[in-house]
Amino acid sequence: MNVYMEVETVRGGGADLRAIAPGARRASDRVKAPAETAAAGNAGFLTGDAGVRWQAALGEVTAGVERRVAWQGEQVGGSADDMEGADAGVGRDFRRIGQRLSKREG
């Protein structure tokens, strides 16, 4: 398995995911007012209440998508941090080894 990461790209991608996450909610928000209007304007109609319920269900779904995408963004950003941290750690180890070697030689 190759291991490869452009840390900044990935970190930026994570931030982008978090940024676009609320876009999902736009969909259910858009339906909210019309559904309520329809329910109010059609008293006694089952469809009016059903529309409101449907909108609420869609709201849960879009909120779920939003949370999930935001979470993914965090994970992606975290992976970038991970990779960077591991890279720095390895680099530090190498430097330390190099210093020790040069001390021994000197």
Partner: protein, 460 residues
């Protein structure tokens, strides 16, 4: 269920508007999905490892989920659009009918029920003798209107019920994605183990999976190795078992005198102890390898000695003694690189060291198989001497005792802990005594066994 008055006051066009908004929501979600996919592709372009694989697996889940939601939203929008439009036209028809009857002077009760209005009663009264006939006519029209209105209301109600039920079903089908909160907790717990450099709070679950994966793999490797080891051991056991079977078979063959033992590559003696378990004889060097032409396996078919001579009851004495002899001659064969060192002379000294009991108690017996084993070594000597088909553990037991005593792998190197110390001293003493008298090859009696006195078979 709307009443007649509610139906007249309804504005099903708002359902159609709502359906349009739902369609737009579907479009929103499609756009969101496209945006999301583009971001995922962007991220993937700069990232490749296990965590990325896990991320992509999760991204596929989200992508599929949003796609499903879009199609569900589209279905619900169509349903509501169709239902709303139908209801709109029904309500308009109902209103028109209502207006028509009211305009004709009828009274429309909210049942709905059309009744004759004041105009009609006046006309009936004015009609005189034709009044009842006129009344019947008006009443028929009113009843017709009642039926039409009731029918219209019933159809509207049914459409509403169908649309509403469909929408409720669609709402129930909309299942939100499971949150990954638990996974995030897990990541947070994991950060105390993580590198100091990491800020910690954001450590990726994907990374977690990565490490888990690696660990699991390592475990698997370990398990695999264990399993392999077990399998090897099992194989070896099986081989042992096979070897014993073949041992018996081979004895049968020998009885018939048709099969020379060394021709069988699966000779039990060769694979009974695995290569690692082969006893190491102190001071013994591996044979300096016979040249291709130097070594010719001796012919055994000429030997007069037949295990059958031992009789059925011979296993007890012959097993132990001849087993020792075999071990000895294995070494003898290895050492016997000189051409002259063939036959018992080459084997006996070493045999005496390794298998003291054989030399001491059963000298003649050891001589017998030894004569055959001089060229062949213990591999062949042992089965020949085992004779009566007893599964002989002697070989292994001895191997444990004599295995590299200098290394003291068994922790019995010190005299005080060594239960065999007396035995070993005895053995050494005996070896010292016995080794010198080994006759020079020239002086050895001819290689013949018939006159040779085997230990008395134990008669039951």
């Amino acid at each position: 269920m709307p009443t007649y008055e509610e139906a007249l006051a309804a504005n099903p066009a708002t359902f159609v508007d709502c359906a349009a908004a739902m369609s737009a929501a579907g479009t929103d979600l499609t756009e969101h999905r496209a945006e999301y996919d583009a971001k995922v592709v962007e991220i993937n372009a700069g990232w490749e490892d296990r965590a990325n694989t896990a991320f992509n697996a999760d991204a596929v889940v989200v992508d599929d989920h949003v796609e499903d939601v879009v199609s569900q939203v589209g279905g619900a929008a169509e349903l509501l659009d169709a239902g709303g439009a139908a209801m709109q036209s029904m309500v308009e028809q109902l209103r028109a009918l209502d207006q028509a009857y009211r305009g004709a002077g009828f009274e429309v009760r909210p049942a709905p029920k059309v009744e004759l209005g004041a105009v009609h009663w006046a006309a009936i009264a004015a009609a005189g003798p034709f009044g009842p006939m006129l009344q019947a006519l008006f009443q028929a029209r009113a009843d017709e209107g009642t039926v039409q209105l009731q029918l219209g209301l019933a159809v509207l109600t049914a459409t509403d019920a169908a649309t509403g039920a469909g929408l409720v079903g669609a709402a129930e089908e909309l299942k939100p994605l499971e949150d990954k909160a638990s996974a995030m907790e897990r990541t947070e717990r994991r950060t105390d183990v993580a590198d100091d450099d990491q800020s910690g709070d954001d450590t990726a679950d994907t990374g977690d999976r990565d490490r888990d994966g690696t660990t699991r793999q390592r475990d698997d490797d370990g398990k695999d190795k264990d399993q392999e080891k077990e399998k090897d051991e099992k194989d070896e056991d099986e081989k042992d078992g096979d070897g014993k079977d073949e041992d018996t078979e081979q004895e049968l063959g020998e009885d018939e005198g048709s099969e020379a033992p060394q021709e069988d590559p699966e000779q039990p003696g060769t694979d009974a102890p695995g290569p690692d378990e082969r006893p190491e004889i102190p001071g013994y060097e591996p044979p300096p390898a016979f040249g291709p032409g130097e070594y010719t396996p001796p012919e055994f078919s000429g030997s007069d000695w037949d295990p059958a001579e031992l009789g059925d009851g011979a296993e007890a004495p012959s097993g132990g003694l001849a087993g020792g002899g075999g071990g000895g001659f294995g070494a003898g064969a290895g050492l016997g690189t000189e051409p002259a060192a063939s036959g018992p002379g080459s084997g006996l000294p070493v045999g005496g060291m390794v298998a003291g009991p054989g030399g001491a108690a059963g000298g003649p017996a050891a001589g017998g198989p030894g004569a055959r084993g001089g060229g062949l070594g213990g591999m062949v000597g042992a089965p020949g001497a085992r004779g009566a088909g007893v599964n002989d553990d002697e070989y292994e037991r001895e191997s444990f005792l004599t295995e590299d005593p200098e290394e003291d792998v068994w922790g019995i190197g010190t005299a005080e802990n060594n239960p065999y110390v007396d035995f070993q001293e005895e053995q050494e003493a005996e070896a010292d005594e016995e080794a010198p008298p080994a006759p020079a090859p020239d002086e050895l009696p001819p290689f013949a066994l018939p006159g040779f006195d085997l230990p008395e078979p134990k008669q039951n």
